[in-house]
């Protein structure tokens, strides 16, 4: 780094750079990437190598010192287990499809609603308050909602009882637990989606709308033919964020239900954790990890490719 910084900048700049590839690597702008790059390449490759390697080993409490190679035994056992299928289904259906759809729809509708509202200086504060749920620890949120949904002491049931209704056992039955975890997930992240969407709406150009008004377009036509196409990149980025977070979900559901009752709210990450640190079968846990890696890589690369082609235009 010092090699270039000590050189006279003016002379260096006026000289065209035509070095070998090796010299290019030591250019100032590439050197700047080294600290973060070296960190990520070393930790990333090391962890990935061990993840894949462990998935072929029988690594349990007894065999941790010298784990034997077992080929695809872990894979066939884990991929055929009904727990994993349930966890996969739960993650994809409840915490990705349903949760993300609700978050995106609600967030976009709220953003459309408040886009026309001039909040002036209050806007920053409103957004700050709305950003609190998304910034709060998911485990903390789980604890808060455990109390709110508590059968005896919870605020929701207390309100219901004071209105003369029956209290619900929210987290005690499978349907209630699934509903509650989805609801809390949507509660926590809809404001985040709303902020992204509002930011997108406020940067849209005015001209297409003016032209459409001249042509006599209705509000619905403007929404479908102008707003939605222009908002496509914003939608994509919000979906990428929320879908990948759906696959990562652990703290929230772990804190609320531990995956129960039964396996009704068990997620993929939770299966991984339970295999590794309750069954102490690190090989099987790594198989779940490899599966998660593949699923997210497919989703994220597909969505990012869409985003990339969008950004090119």
């Amino acid at each position: 780094m010092t090699m270039h910084t000590s050189a006279d900048p003016v002379r260096r700049r006026s000289k065209p750079i035509h070095g070998t590839k090796l010299r290019k690597l030591f250019q100032f702008k590439y050197v700047l990437l080294y600290p973060a790059g070296i960190y990520f390449v070393t930790t990333g490759t090391y962890f990935l190598y061990w993840l894949v390697r462990t998935s072929f080993l029988q690594m349990t409490a007894r065999t941790i010192r010298d784990p034997p190679f077992v080929g695809f035994a872990n894979y066939s056992r884990v991929l055929n287990s009904s727990t994993l299928r349930t966890a996969f289904g739960n993650t994809v259906l409840y915490y990705v499809l349903i949760s993300v759809t609700l978050q995106i729809l609600l967030g976009f509708c709220l953003a459309l609603l408040f886009n026309k509202l001039t909040m002036g200086r209050a806007q920053g504060w409103v957004l700050a308050v709305l950003f609190i749920p998304a910034m709060m620890a998911q485990y903390g949120v789980a604890l808060i909602w455990n109390l709110l949904l508590n059968t005896e002491l919870g605020l929701l049931n207390q309100i219901a009882r004071s209105l003369g209704m029956e209290g619900q056992r929210w987290l005690g039955n499978p349907q209630g637990a699934v509903f509650a975890t989805i609801m809390v997930n949507v509660w926590q992240f809809t404001p985040f989606v709303f902020i992204i969407m509002l930011g997108g709406l406020q940067t849209l150009p005015n001209e297409p709308y003016e032209a459409a008004t001249v042509d006599g377009a209705s509000a619905l036509q403007k929404l479908l033919l102008i707003t939605l196409p222009l908002m496509k990149p914003i939608f994509l980025i919000a979906i990428v964020f929320r879908v990948t977070d759906g696959f990562r979900l652990f703290d929230l559901v772990w804190g609320m239900t531990r995956g129960g009752p039964g396996t009704s709210t068990q997620t993929l990450t939770m299966t991984l954790y339970k295999e590794a640190f309750e069954m102490y079968d690190l090989g099987s846990a790594s198989v779940v990890g490899v599966l998660l890696l593949f699923v997210i890589a497919i989703f994220a690369s597909g969505l990012l490719k869409l985003l990339y082609s969008e950004a090119q235009e």
Binding site: M1, V10, L33, M59, W145, G199, T203, L272, A285, G289
Partner: protein, 297 residues
């Protein structure tokens, strides 16, 4: 940031009263819509923070008041939960640990992220593909690396020690920090640095004397997220700590036992966990919208 579209120029008309009438009617309906929208907004904001307000309310309640079946929105304020908490050495060490882990990992994350974000923002190193790679690194669950990291850190006997936790915290927050710093550097015109270079400043000098001071606010915003991520993290300390480096999130579970749940203490811990979040959102509030929407530009 006004989004009200320009009203079309009013047609010239001799019918002055008619015009005035139309304008006032439009004003009244616009005011009515505004009142309705502000009401909905107030409800939305209330729904977003009501659980936190309830958390704070419960944390200053006596045990007898918490364990009542009936609805009590207001109760006498009792600071017992905080008093026992602040006199408990396990709580204080958990608080201290969390603060240390978050601070150290934030400092290192920023030291790694600032040059990378600067290179990507100023020189467009790696172009869009590197940008999307960095973004996609953020999407992988920490659960994937938890088993390999556990194996590694147990082998080198670093479980329940600060370096292991910091290394993992950097892993989860570095991509977003790079992404945010880059989005701030892009907004600073390169002309400032170029004039510094022609005045005889070195490239590194231009970076430290011109660019970093100019995007110091951006640096603060970028530093908030690693801190909050480390502060909030649950899975990493759950797996990689035993008792020495327990963090607040893991510590809060000790009040849940099979026969009793001490909700007052839990809510007091959660309230304390909220404090940095509240400070963080106040600092990042101005950058919230353009941060995510403008990140791609």
């Amino acid at each position: 940031m006004s989004t009200i579209r320009k009203t079309p120029p009013i047609e010239r008309s001799n019918d002055f009263m008619h015009l005035r009438h139309r304008m006032t009617r439009r004003n009244i309906s616009r005011r009515a819509i505004e009142v309705v929208l502000f009401t909905i907004l107030a409800v939305v904001v209330f729904l977003a923070i009501a659980p936190f307000l309830w958390t704070i309310a419960i944390s200053v309640r006596s045990r007898e008041m918490i364990f009542q079946r009936s609805l009590n929105l207001f109760a006498p304020i009792v600071l017992n939960n905080y008093r026992t908490m602040l006199s408990s050495s396990t709580f204080l060490s958990a608080l201290f640990n969390t603060a240390i882990i978050a601070t150290v990992s934030t400092v290192i994350t920023m030291l790694l992220a600032a040059p990378a974000g600067y290179a990507m923002g100023r020189f467009n190193v790696g172009g869009k593909s590197l940008l999307l790679t960095v973004l996609s690194l953020r999407f992988f669950p920490v659960a994937i690396v938890i088993v390999p990291s556990y194996v590694f850190f147990s082998n080198v006997r670093m479980v329940d020690r600060l370096p292991a936790l910091v290394i993992m915290m950097i892993f989860i927050s570095l991509p977003l920090a790079i992404w945010i710093i880059r989005s701030f550097v892009v907004q600073i015109p390169a002309a400032y640095e170029e004039s510094a270079l022609t005045d005889g400043c070195t490239k590194l000098g231009a970076l430290f004397r011109i660019t970093i001071p100019m995007c110091s606010q951006g640096m603060v915003v970028a530093a908030i997220f690693p801190f909050v991520y480390a502060w909030n993290e649950f899975l990493i300390p759950l797996v990689l700590t035993r008792f020495r480096w327990t963090t607040l999130t893991v510590y809060s579970s000790i009040f849940i036992t099979d026969h009793r749940v001490d909700w007052g203490s839990i809510m007091a811990v959660v309230t304390i966990m909220l404090i940095p979040i509240a400070i963080g959102v106040v600092i990042v509030r101005r950058y919230l919208m353009r941060g995510f929407a403008g990140g791609l530009k």
